[in-house]
Amino acid sequence: MAEIHDNGRKSGKNSKTKAAKMPGFQPHNPIHDMLGQKLKAYYAEIASEPIPDRLTALLAKLEAQSATGDGLADGADGEER
């Protein structure tokens, strides 16, 4: 079983100005919002590109191999240069 690390339990929790350290308590920062929007838009733009044929083809190949119980054949990465 993986142990859960509780970040809040470390030393220094007691004395410091607690409220100011609380996650989500940061004063609203419009610049961060702006940057966040731009980053997400950038990422979404790339993610919205159609999946290249070679990747869909690879997946089909993997699924076919899996269905026939072949496991992973060496030829699966045929496009390697």
Binding site: N7, P30, L35, Y42, A47, L58, L62, L72
Partner: protein
């Protein structure tokens, strides 16, 4: 052992995000696709090591990231070359995508140190929590937080983001809600 249809479905669903992560790391679409291809092969081959019910997206991003760094180690010379002409390649790719904002962001990201770039992409764009990003990058949560914070400062500088141009908060009908946290 056979892979489940569910595994395949989750893998397909993750591909667009993995490509975006790959492009963010490499700034090159074809190299990103190589990374995604390797990630798919590795994920498929090692699907037994994925624990169902855990975060498959984070697992896949970890594989892609490991692949990226192992390729860098393998192609040291090529990477040195790539670093030198990074910004110009980035500009070309951005133009190809046809959005000025895209080109700006790519160029800006390219100027960040690698560790800051991946941190801000994972947390600021891919939607991972600090904890998940820390797991993916195998560093402490505090390290990710400070990388993200430094990346934000650098990007704000590079992109010359101006508070005056910031969009008004959407819920602020009376213009005052942005201050409610204070």
């Amino acid at each position: 052992m056979n892979t489940s249809p569910e595994f395949a479905a989750q893998l397909i669903a993750a591909i667009p995000g993995l490509r975006a992560f790959g492009v963010s790391l490499t700034a090159k679409a074809d190299r990103a696709d190589d990374l995604v291809q390797e990630t798919m092969l590795k994920a498929w081959k090692h699907h037994d090591s994925f624990e169902p019910g855990t975060n498959m997206k984070a697992w896949l991003y970890t594989i892609l990231r490991n692949e990226f760094y192992s390729q860098i180690r393998k192609r040291k010379r090529e990477v040195e070359d790539a670093d030198g002409v990074y910004a110009s390649r980035v500009a070309v790719q951005g133009a190809q995508l046809g959005h000025l904002d895209m080109a700006d962001m790519r160029t800006a990201l390219a100027q960040l140190p690698e560790d800051q770039r991946e941190a801000i992409i994972l947390v600021g764009a891919s939607g991972f929590t600090y904890e998940e990003a820390a797991d993916i990058c195998r560093v402490a949560v505090g390290t990710i937080k400070s990388r993200v914070s430094r990346a934000r400062m650098r990007l704000t500088e590079i992109l010359a983001l101006n508070p005056a141009e910031a969009p008004r908060p959407e819920k602020g009908e009376d213009g005052s809600s942005a201050r409610t946290a204070a």
